[in-house]
Structures are given as structure tokens and as C-alpha cells.
């Protein structure tokens, strides 16, 4: 029984269909406790679906998912005690911040989770203030969500999950469609999670920051795992990345020795460093 407890998530041969379309096809993967894992894949490769399954928001048609050795099923989550303890320990930050920010103000947004988990009011206020300051959004606390910029929305969405201090953080493209400085803030945060206290699963197709935010990566293609390994190994596996539609062949022609290309700055490193 010691072995499963080391695994935060164990996903075994899971299939899931969304409106008749296959999203996950007999997919298996696992995440250890305290590990930072990145899910790489093109749009529609099943990353978001997997994150929702891991968060217990949808349930697989076939196969099994277990969380800390305990099977994660719809039935199990009906149990109030398990529901609250699971929600407390696993937080999901959605890709679209607009769906996550549904409360009238930033303060209410942060208070939503703790309120649902029935924390006492003084503790909620204290914790919300703490997170507001930590995430540098205290000045936004009375702001309505439609008055936030894209980067602010992402930070508030992240804060609304962090307020519960979850052990496991599921992040769906946290730095997508952000300006460089907002992106850097999010990445800095993810880097700071690297001390092993939190399990972080990040879906992304941004390969520049991969080695900073992950200890291990899965590459997804067509609802299956196409490859797995350390960030650097994955980044060097051009064939795999092309197969997963993460890079486009002609954009990287020079990487295979075509010297006719003009020298230009590289957005990401191909050579280990």
C-alpha cells in the first residue's frame, strides 16, 4: 500500500467522449506527489479534458482514475466528506478566466471557495486578505471582473484557487494569451512551486518555459500519450513534437542543418543548457 500513496494521480486506460467525439482514447499516465508535470499538446489534443477528469468534474467512460490511491468516481464524490476534502486538496485553474470569475467582485471571488467549504467568516477574511497581498492584487479587491485586464483576470483566477491552499494544482494553459510581463509573473509563481510542497500539473503549448515549470512532461496527440520524459529530452525530440503538431517543420528547417537560413534570435533553446 505504500506505492499508490506516492502517486497523486494514477490514470489507467481512460477513455472519454465529448459529444460523440473521442477526446481521450485509452490513456494512461501518472503523477507523483510533489512532482511538477507539464502536459504538452496541440489544441484539441485532450489536455483540458484530462484536467477536468483529474479535478473530478467529469468521469471517464472506461478506465479508472485514482487520487492518492483512492478511486475517483462520481459516486465517491457524492459523499459530502470526500467531496469537501477532495475540493480542498485539488484546485483547477480554468483556461478561460471569464468562466472562473463569476462573482460580483474580486474579494467575493476569493471568498467563494472557502465559503463553500464552510470555513468560519473571520478565518475566510483573514485568508482572503493574505492571498490578495501575496498575489499583489489587494488594490483590485472591490473591482468587478469586467473591469480587470486579461493579466489581472488570470492572477485573480489563480488566487481564487490558491486561497484554499490546495496540495494539487491543475493549471489549464495558465500563461496563454497574456502579455510577456503577465506571463512572467505566472511562470515565476510556477517556478516557486518547485520545492516539492505542491503537486503541479500544467497544460501548455508554450515550450520556452517548459524546463522552468516542469520536472517531467507528457506529450499528447489525438487523445493518447505520444511521448513522455524530462523537458530537455522532449524538446530535443523534434520528430515527436512534429507528430504532436507542437512545431511546424518549415519553421525549424535550419535546426536540421540547413545553413541557408538568415541568422535570427531563437525564441526557445534547441540545444541543452
Amino acid at each position: 500500500m505504500t506505492e499508490p500513496a506516492v502517486l497523486a494521480f494514477d490514470v489507467r486506460e481512460v477513455s472519454y467522449r465529448y459529444n460523440q467525439v473521442e477526446a481521450l482514447n485509452s490513456l494512461s499516465m501518472h503523477v507523483k506527489r510533489g512532482e511538477r508535470v507539464a502536459l504538452l499538446g496541440a489544441n484539441g489534443s485532450g489536455k483540458s479534458t484530462l484536467l477536468r477528469l483529474l479535478a473530478g468534474l467529469c468521469f471517464p467512460e472506461h478506465g479508472e482514475i485514482s487520487f492518492l490511491g483512492e478511486s475517483l468516481t462520481e459516486r465517491r464524490l457524492q459523499d459530502e466528506q470526500f467531496f469537501f476534502s477532495f475540493r480542498r486538496r485539488v484546485g483547477l485553474v480554468f483556461q478561460n478566466a471569464d468562466v472562473q470569475l463569476f462573482s460580483p467582485s474580486v474579494f467575493d471571488e476569493l471568498a467563494f471557495g472557502p465559503l463553500q467549504l464552510r470555513w468560519p467568516a473571520p478565518k475566510i477574511r483573514e485568508r482572503v486578505d493574505e492571498v490578495l497581498r501575496a498575489m499583489d492584487i489587494a488594490h483590485l479587491q472591490d473591482r468587478a471582473p469586467h473591469r480587470l485586464s486579461g493579466g489581472e483576470k488570470k492572477r485573480v483566477a489563480l488566487a481564487s484557487v490558491l486561497v484554499l491552499d490546495p496540495e494539487v494544482l491543475l493549471l489549464d494553459e495558465p500563461s496563454g494569451a497574456l502579455d510577456p510581463s503577465s506571463q512572467a509573473r505566472i511562470v515565476d509563481f510556477l517556478v516557486s512551486c518547485g520545492n516539492g510542497s505542491k503537486t503541479v500539473i500544467t497544460s501548455t503549448h508554450d515550450m520556452d518555459t517548459l524546463e522552468d515549470i516542469a520536472d517531467r512532461c507528457y506529450v499528447f496527440a489525438n487523445g493518447r500519450v505520444a511521448g513522455e520524459g524530462a523537458p530537455l529530452d522532449i524538446l530535443h525530440n523534434v520528430e515527436l513534437l512534429e507528430r504532436a503538431k507542437l512545431i511546424h517543420p518549415h519553421a525549424h528547417a535550419h535546426a536540421r542543418g540547413n545553413g541557408a537560413v538568415q541568422p535570427h534570435p531563437h525564441v526557445h533553446r534547441h540545444e541543452g543548457g
Binding site: 477536468r52 479535478a55 467531496f83 478561460n96 463569476f102 477574511r125 469586467h146
Partner: protein
């Protein structure tokens, strides 16, 4: 159709709110028991959607446009009970933020549109669709009819509410204190606009969106179609539904409508917008103003109906008297003919003015002359203006004037009491005093008077003034003046009733504007919570407001991008299809976002029971101010008995 403040007596408003209460109660109970925690975000987002849909300009036959309410679609997708909640919430936000419908009349508006509309729409849909398949064309027709019937029955309710006012509420001199027109005027005047324009708009939106759902997500129609045969075969019949809107069914639908129009003798009466439904923006354009004037004058002919014929036939036969056949005074035929002629004259006049002012717009569209604004452009602009209006109110509320610094509960109760007083008093000078108090409050709260003038006073004057004007001549009583040539008598009672209607509407609109310009929405929600509004309702209101912005922005982007791609002039059928498709896309987005919002709520521990953090303390000086407000309102009611 959105009844403003001051048109209905306080007892009517209270009665209708009381009548609505059990429906709300049952609806809340059912929503709670069905739970379906998914319903809370779904209702909120649907309310936001319905709100945005009410701002769409739907192109109708004859080159005009109309607005839908969306109760047909809501009752088909959500079922009647959840639809009651969604439409009520949408109406509340409209009344509070846009002054569309009064605060005291909110109960009445909810009763007519949300409750009667939803139930009638749902019943019609179930009855007509019967056991047809989820993707059958019959469901599209059923939806269209459901929307059409729902809005018309709702309009009939409103007309009856208007019509009983002069009967029940008048002072010693016989001056009607509220809506001045009796049933025989109110019913035809309301119904003509709704049987034609507003009904059509609702029909277009309901049938168009059900057709869209059949194509994209027929599962959503399952909820209200328990008898439909299970559909196993996907994909292929979807085309059928898509075509249904265009070919035989569409033709049948239009034929049925044409029949309705023929049976509605004065179908051509409506010139532009539905009677009683002009938006504030309409009043800034001379074109719309003319249309309203036209429509209001037209409203005189129906008054001639059965008994009041003598006096009115003299009005209409005046310009015709030399040519009038002898039977024109005798029968309803005379009424019809004179009304038709009157309508024809007004349409001709409107066209003439349009031609004079706009400089032959339709012919020279391409030659760089003044282009008629397309419905796409109009809608985009309307959506943008609505967003700006609310954002402006938020900015205003964040400043530090007198009202802004008051506790939201004091404001809610205090201003509410003043509005109730304005609706209740029976003396013009007391009404004027309350209005003056409103102006004073605006001054000490640094709310620009220019803003009130433009957005409230002139708009209300144009709208209510147009409705009150005929009452000056039509109210029976002592004549104080006769118009030269026409010999129409201006009665003392007529002047007074017009005065009441206008002053009441102005005062109530001013006060509710003050409330929204000085209170942040989040604080208002907390105040509501403090007064014991159900948590579910407060949560839904909050979420509706929040997603209203998202959908306004989405719809605006959609229309702007459409506008940039449209070359040349679309034919009317294409325009209708475009409008219905846009609404459909927005509906698709609504449903998708609502599903995801629900997941996001679940992910943070939501199990269907909403919890809020209440934190407002009433301090002694808050109680003092509250007492001052309530005291002023009580004094006004006592003085204005």
C-alpha cells in the same frame, strides 16, 4: 410593454406583485429540489442572454425592426419554472440599470412577461410540438408560435392593467390618476403593435433559435420534450431542420402571419416601433420621434371603437366630412375606414418628412449620400451604448457625493419609499415637491443635472408625453380650450391626468436613476441579502450582471465583424436569418459558458447550495438618515392624500 412607474396605481402594483409571489416561490422551490446545481449558472447566464437579446434589432417585414423578450426560447430551453426566474431577473436588471420598466411596476412586468409569458409560451410549445421528433420542423413552428402567443398574451395582460386604471382610480373631478385610457382604447392600442411587430420579433427569435439548437445541441430540447421519440440517428436530419426555416415551413409560417395581419384590421398601423416600447435612445433621433408621434396619434382611432364613436368619428371625419359617405358615422365600418385613412395620412406624412430630412436616402446609398443605418450597425451601436451607460454609472457610484456615501440599505429603502410615495400621492404639487427633492439629492451628490436632463427628463417627457398627449383631448370633462379648425376640446381633466402621468413618470425615473448612479452593484446585492432576499436570487442576480458584460461584448464584436463583411444590401429574409443566427451563436456561447461556469463553481466546492459572506453593519447615523427618508416619504403621502 415594459410598464414604467406611474402608469399603474400602487394597489395594482402590489396586487400583481402579490400574484407573482406564489409563482416565484414555486419556481424557487422547484429549482432547488430539481437541483441540478447546474441550473443556477444556467438561469443566470440565460437571464444575461435574454437581456442582451432584448437589445437586438430584429429586422421584420416592411423594413422595420423590433425587439424580442425571449420568453418563448427561455421556456423551451429551461422549462416554465426556471424561465420564470430567468426572465424576472432579466427584467429586474433592465428596470434597475436602464430604466426599462418601473421599479414599482416590476411586479407587474414580471407577472405579464416572466410568468404569464413563460407559462403560455411553454403550453403553446408543448401543445403544438406534441410528440414530434426533437429535430422535426414542427418544433421550429411550435417555437415560433409559442413566442408569438406568449408576447401577445403578455401584452393583453398589460393592456388590461392599463385599461382598468381610469375605471378604478380617479379623483373627485373624474381625472384619471394613472394610465388615462380605458380598456377599449388600451387593448387595441397595445395589441396592434404586438400582434404585428413585437410578436413577429418574438417569433423570429424563438423559431430561429430552436432551429439553431436542433442543429447544434438537440439534447437541450429534450428537457421540455419528454414525449418526443428518442432520436438515435445523428447528423443527417440536422440539415432538414436547417432547411425548415427556409422552405415550406417558413412559407407556412409567413402565411399564417399574413392571415393574422389581415384579421387584424389595422395591421399597418404600427409605424416603426411597438406602441409603448420606445427606448430612450429613440428619442434622440428625429425619425424615431416622428414615428412615436405618429403611433400615438394613431392611437386615437381605436378609441373611437364601439361606444365613444360619436365624438371621435367627428375627429376623423373632420378633414373628410365633405366626402364622407353617410354611413361613416353609423357603424364600425366607419370607424375602420376613418382609422385607415388616418393611418395612411400619418404614414404618408412620415415618409414625406423622412424624404425631406434624410435626402432621398435609399436611392443614393452607394453614392455617398446619407446611408440608412443597417440593423447590424444599429444593434452594435445599441449594445455598445448600453455597456458604456452601465460603466458610467459604476464610475459615478465610485465618487464621493452625499448619496454615494450612504449605506446601500438606507438608499434602497429610502429611495424606494420616495418612489412609492411619488406613485401614491394624488396632488400635483406634492409630486413636484418630491421631484424637487430628487433634484436636490442629485446636486449634493454631484450628479450632473445635464445628464439627468438628457437621459431622464427629456427621454421620459418624449415617451410619456407622447402617450399622455391624446389624453388631453380624450378625457371626458369640462372643455377649457378648443383647437382651432379641428375643434378638438382640451379638457381640464385631460390636462390634469396628463400632468399626473408625466410628473409621476419623471419623478420615479429621476429617483431610480439616482439610486443606480450612486450605488455600486455589489453593495446593492449585499443590501438585498440583508433584507432577506433568497441567497439563490442574490447569487443569480450577481452572476447575471457579471455575464451581461461578457455577452454584450461578445454580441458587439459579432455584429461589428459582420458589419465589416457585409457588402451591399441584404434582402430581408437574409437579414432575418442573420439576426436569428447571431442570436443562436450567442445562445450557443451562453450554454457553453454556463456549463463551464458550473464546473468552475464545482471545482471550488459548490454543491448547489449558495453561500455568501454578509457583512454590513447599520450605524446609528445610518438609522437616522433612513428615518429622514422614510419621514419625507410619509409626509408626502399624507400631504398628497
Amino acid at each position: 410593454m415594459h410598464i414604467p412607474d406611474g402608469y399603474l396605481s400602487p394597489s395594482t402594483c402590489a396586487g400583481l406583485a402579490a400574484a407573482a409571489a406564489p409563482f416565484w416561490y414555486v419556481a424557487l422551490k422547484r429549482v432547488k429540489s430539481v437541483l441540478h446545481a447546474r441550473l443556477i449558472p444556467l438561469i443566470s447566464l440565460f437571464a444575461a442572454f435574454s437581456f442582451v437579446i432584448m437589445m437586438f434589432n430584429l429586422p421584420l417585414p416592411g423594413g422595420t425592426t423590433g425587439h424580442g423578450v425571449g420568453m418563448g426560447v427561455a421556456s423551451i430551453v429551461l422549462g416554465p419554472w426556471a424561465s420564470i426566474l430567468a426572465i424576472s431577473i432579466a427584467l429586474t436588471i433592465q428596470a434597475v440599470f436602464f430604466g426599462d420598466g418601473g421599479i414599482t411596476a416590476l411586479g407587474a412586468n414580471c407577472f405579464n412577461m416572466a410568468i404569464v409569458g413563460s407559462l403560455v409560451g411553454y403550453a403553446t410549445y408543448r401543445l403544438v410540438a406534441w410528440r414530434s421528433g426533437l429535430r422535426s420542423a414542427r418544433r421550429v413552428v411550435a417555437a415560433g408560435l409559442a413566442g408569438y402567443t406568449a408576447i401577445n398574451v403578455a401584452a393583453l395582460c398589460a393592456a388590461i392593467e392599463f385599461g382598468i386604471q381610469p375605471l378604478l382610480f380617479h379623483d373627485a373631478s373624474g381625472t384619471p390618476l394613472y394610465a388615462p385610457y380605458a380598456l377599449r382604447i388600451a387593448i387595441p392600442a397595445m395589441m396592434l403593435g404586438h400582434l404585428t411587430l413585437a410578436g413577429l420579433a418574438e417569433l423570429v427569435i424563438s423559431s430561429g433559435m430552436v432551429a439553431y439548437l436542433q442543429r447544434t445541441d438537440p439534447g437541450l430540447l429534450r428537457h421540455t420534450a419528454p414525449d418526443a421519440p428518442p432520436s438515435i440517428e445523428p447528423a443527417q436530419p440536422a440539415r432538414e431542420a436547417q432547411d425548415a426555416l427556409r422552405l415550406p415551413t417558413a412559407r407556412k409560417l409567413w402565411l399564417a402571419l399574413a392571415a393574422l395581419l389581415i384579421f387584424t384590421p389595422l395591421g399597418i398601423l404600427a409605424v416603426g416601433s411597438a406602441w409603448g416600447e420606445w427606448s430612450a435612445q429613440d428619442f434622440s433621433s428625429p425619425q424615431a420621434r416622428r414615428e412615436i408621434a405618429a403611433a400615438s396619434h394613431n392611437q386615437a382611432p381605436p378609441s373611437a371603437a364601439p361606444r365613444g364613436l360619436e365624438r371621435l368619428s367627428s375627429i376623423w371625419s373632420a378633414p373628410l366630412s365633405r366626402y364622407a359617405p353617410s354611413f361613416i358615422r353609423s357603424a364600425s365600418f366607419g370607424y375602420l375606414v376613418s382609422a385607415m385613412v388616418g393611418v395612411g395620412l400619418i404614414i404618408a406624412l412620415a415618409l414625406l418628412l423622412n424624404w425631406l430630412l434624410a435626402g432621398r436616402p435609399m436611392v443614393h446609398a452607394a453614392a455617398g449620400g446619407r446611408r440608412r443605418r443597417s440593423f447590424v450597425e444599429k444593434t452594435a451601436r445599441g449594445l455598445l451604448e448600453a455597456t458604456e451607460q452601465v460603466l458610467f454609472a459604476e464610475d459615478m457610484a465610485a465618487t464621493s457625493g452625499f448619496l454615494q456615501c450612504l449605506d446601500p440599505r438606507v438608499k434602497l429603502i429610502g429611495i424606494g419609499a420616495l418612489i412609492a410615495a411619488a406613485v401614491a400621492v394624488h396632488r400635483l404639487w406634492v409630486l413636484a415637491a418630491i421631484l424637487a427633492l430628487g433634484v436636490l439629492l442629485a446636486l449634493v451628490s454631484h450628479i450632473p443635472i445635464r445628464l439627468l436632463t438628457a437621459r431622464v427628463w427629456l427621454a421620459v417627457l418624449a415617451f410619456t408625453g407622447a402617450i399622455a398627449l391624446p389624453a388631453i383631448f380624450l378625457t371626458p370633462g369640462a372643455a377649457v380650450y378648443r383647437l382651432p379648425l379641428l375643434e378638438w376640446p382640451v379638457t381640464q381633466q385631460g390636462l390634469r391626468t396628463a400632468g399626473f402621468l408625466i410628473l409621476r413618470a419623471e419623478t420615479a425615473a429621476t429617483l431610480s436613476m439616482l439610486l443606480i448612479l450612486s450605488t455600486l452593484w455589489t453593495r446593492l446585492l449585499r443590501a438585498l441579502r440583508y433584507f432577506g432576499a433568497p441567497v439563490v436570487v442574490v447569487a443569480i442576480l450577481g452572476m447575471t450582471y457579471r455575464y451581461m458584460f461578457l455577452f454584450l461584448a461578445t454580441a458587439c464584436d459579432m455584429f461589428e465583424s459582420r458589419e465589416s463583411r457585409i457588402v451591399g444590401v441584404l434582402d430581408p429574409a437574409d437579414r432575418r436569418r442573420l439576426a436569428a443566427a447571431s442570436a443562436g451563436v450567442l445562445l450557443g456561447k451562453t450554454l457553453q459558458v454556463s456549463g463551464e461556469v458550473h464546473m468552475a463553481m464545482q471545482a471550488r466546492g459548490f454543491r448547489g447550495e449558495v453561500r455568501l459572506l454578509d457583512e454590513l453593519q447599520m450605524r446609528p447615523h445610518d438609522w437616522l438618515r433612513l428615518a429622514a427618508f422614510v419621514g419625507a416619504a410619509t409626509l408626502a403621502v399624507w400631504l398628497g392624500r
